[in-house]
């Protein structure tokens, strides 16, 4: 449904997007994740025909975003990051105008407005001026506008930014509900956001794709970094020696804490030696008050690769200067 090949966008002297490629199939719900300034908004703006790419190709529903821009705009519903709305209009007036420029006739427009009013809970303020609405209400109006023409593809730039927790949950549910009928691409810099809503995540940093996959696949990639945490009695060096001998243990570190040893055990990839560790501790006659597996969170992984990417770039820049 969405194809992107070698897309690059250069602003006067800065590369915002640097040769990214990905594709999204019909009915998928994909999260575009990255820190601020990673190039998310720029990519979405190219896909929605707001600006052309410097080089590379992008197409939506088979239409090229550059040569067949009007066709793309007709099949895409877009919610820009700042939710720009015509503040001086009433919600119904605004949606009527948006329906008109999308080529809906009167009957279609009225039906469409009824549909999005129900879908995005606009009923309470449909006849109020937009400038009086709260941030969350405006966000819903923007979403209603993006859905007005029942688009094949929904592109949402930071759809839950600035909302309170209840609204965030409602919006997520709505997006989940929409994913059944639409192909959805949403961007976010908040990881749990993407983890909660998307089937697949594309992580972008410094204008490049650094990882992509389902949350489970991404977690699989970091399994190697999982750790065990234990708290036992006994002297630090004894504990260290004993645990090092266990099959599957890579590295052991201890620190004394109020008569207890707090032990951090790094395991070999895929290994789970918890049972063996317990047996050894029992055998030595120590007490055990905690033993848990700490699976590295997607959050940590995200922070890690983004930091890595930034460091690489700094290194490259330094090299270039030398």
């Amino acid at each position: 449904m969405i194809r992107v090949q070698n897309l690059t966008k250069v602003y006067s002297n800065r590369k915002a997007v640097d040769g990214i490629s990905f594709s999204i199939e019909e009915g998928e719900i994909v999260g575009f994740l990255g820190p601020n300034g990673a190039g998310k908004t720029t990519t979405l703006r190219i896909l929605t025909c707001y600006m052309p790419a410097t080089s590379g190709h992008a197409s939506v529903a088979g239409h090229d975003v550059f040569t067949d821009s009007m066709a793309v705009r007709r099949v895409v519903g877009y919610l820009p990051e700042s939710t720009p709305l015509d503040m001086n209009m009433r919600v119904r007036e605004y949606l009527t105008f948006r329906g008109k420029i999308r080529g809906l006739d009167r009957a279609q427009r009225e039906a469409a407005i009824r549909r999005v009013t129900e879908l995005c809970w606009l009923g309470d303020f449909i006849d109020r001026p937009i400038h009086q609405l709260s941030k969350g209400m405006k966000q819903r109006v923007g979403l209603g506008d993006a859905l007005l023409h029942d688009p094949k593809v929904l592109i949402l730039d930071e759809p839950t930014i600035g909302l309170d927790p209840t609204q965030i949950r409602e919006t997520r549910n709505l997006i989940h509900h929409l994913a059944k009928k639409h192909t959805v691409l949403l961007s976010s810099h908040i990881l749990p956001e993407v983890e909660a809503t998307c089937e697949r995540t594309i992580i972008i940093a410094g204008g490049k794709i650094v990882a992509s996959g389902t949350p489970a696949e991404l977690k699989e990639r970091i399994r190697g970094g999982s750790r065990l945490i234990a708290e036992v009695t006994g002297s630090g060096s004894d504990v260290k020696d004993a645990l090092k001998g266990v099959n599957g243990v890579e590295k052991v570190e201890t620190s004394a804490d109020d008569g207890w040893q707090r032990v951090t055990i790094e395991t070999k990839r895929g290994a789970d030696p918890r049972e063996d560790i317990f047996k050894i501790i029992k055998q030595k006659g120590w007490s055990l008050r905690e033993l848990r597996l700490e699976v590295g969170s997607l959050e940590e992984f995200f922070v890690q690769i983004v930091a890595q990417q930034m460091a690489d770039q700094r290194a490259a820049r330094t090299e270039a200067r030398v």
Binding site: S82, L85, N88, I101
Partner: protein
Amino acid sequence: MTRNVLALTQRELIMSFFSPVAYVVAAVFLMATGYLFMNATLIEGSEATIRPLLDSMSWVLIFAIPLLTMRVLSDEFASGTIEALMTAPVTDVEVVLGKFLGVLAFYASLLVTTLVHVGLLLRYGGNDVPAILYGYFGMILLGCLYVAVGVFASALTKHQLVAALIGMGVLSLFTLVVDSFAAWKGGLWRTVLSYVNITHHFQDFSKGIFDTKAIVFFISGTVFFLFLAVKMLESRRWR
């Protein structure tokens, strides 16, 4: 095409009638032209013709119209609504035409209110109805050109005040400045300057002289500035 332009025009009109700026500009415009009309026409011994009213309106509009048009694109750039607009299936030409027609419609309604002066004129002596109609036809053409210049100025920047000042500057250049410049120069200079002199062409209407040259001038000038506005809007994408 037509449907999109109409929808955009209607939106523009809603925004004009909502904006306090439009009302203040309208009020000041009416006060200024009313004062000038009274001073030039409603005093003993003056001619009961439409000409002083038309001329004074054409001067006041140099400052009034850029204040009406400054918002049209600048505000879209500043508030970000341009992004919602330009990702909907509307072309740059349709956007510019919608803006142009929206402000023009507001201007036309402003012009209707000046018919009070015409009423006074007809009541107290003036009876040259064809000259009045032709003069107002000229006011519409003049409005088209001024609004086109204003829309162009608004396409240049996201700062409304800057857009207004650029609009006033361009209009002053083609009225006040070329007028006095042409007075010093002779020969080819004078010919060229008088060709681009808006005041010069407008006087055909205020005097009641029918000349296709003036009509062509206003229409081609309007198209030219609208074309520039479209190009400016297009060029924003590439920055």
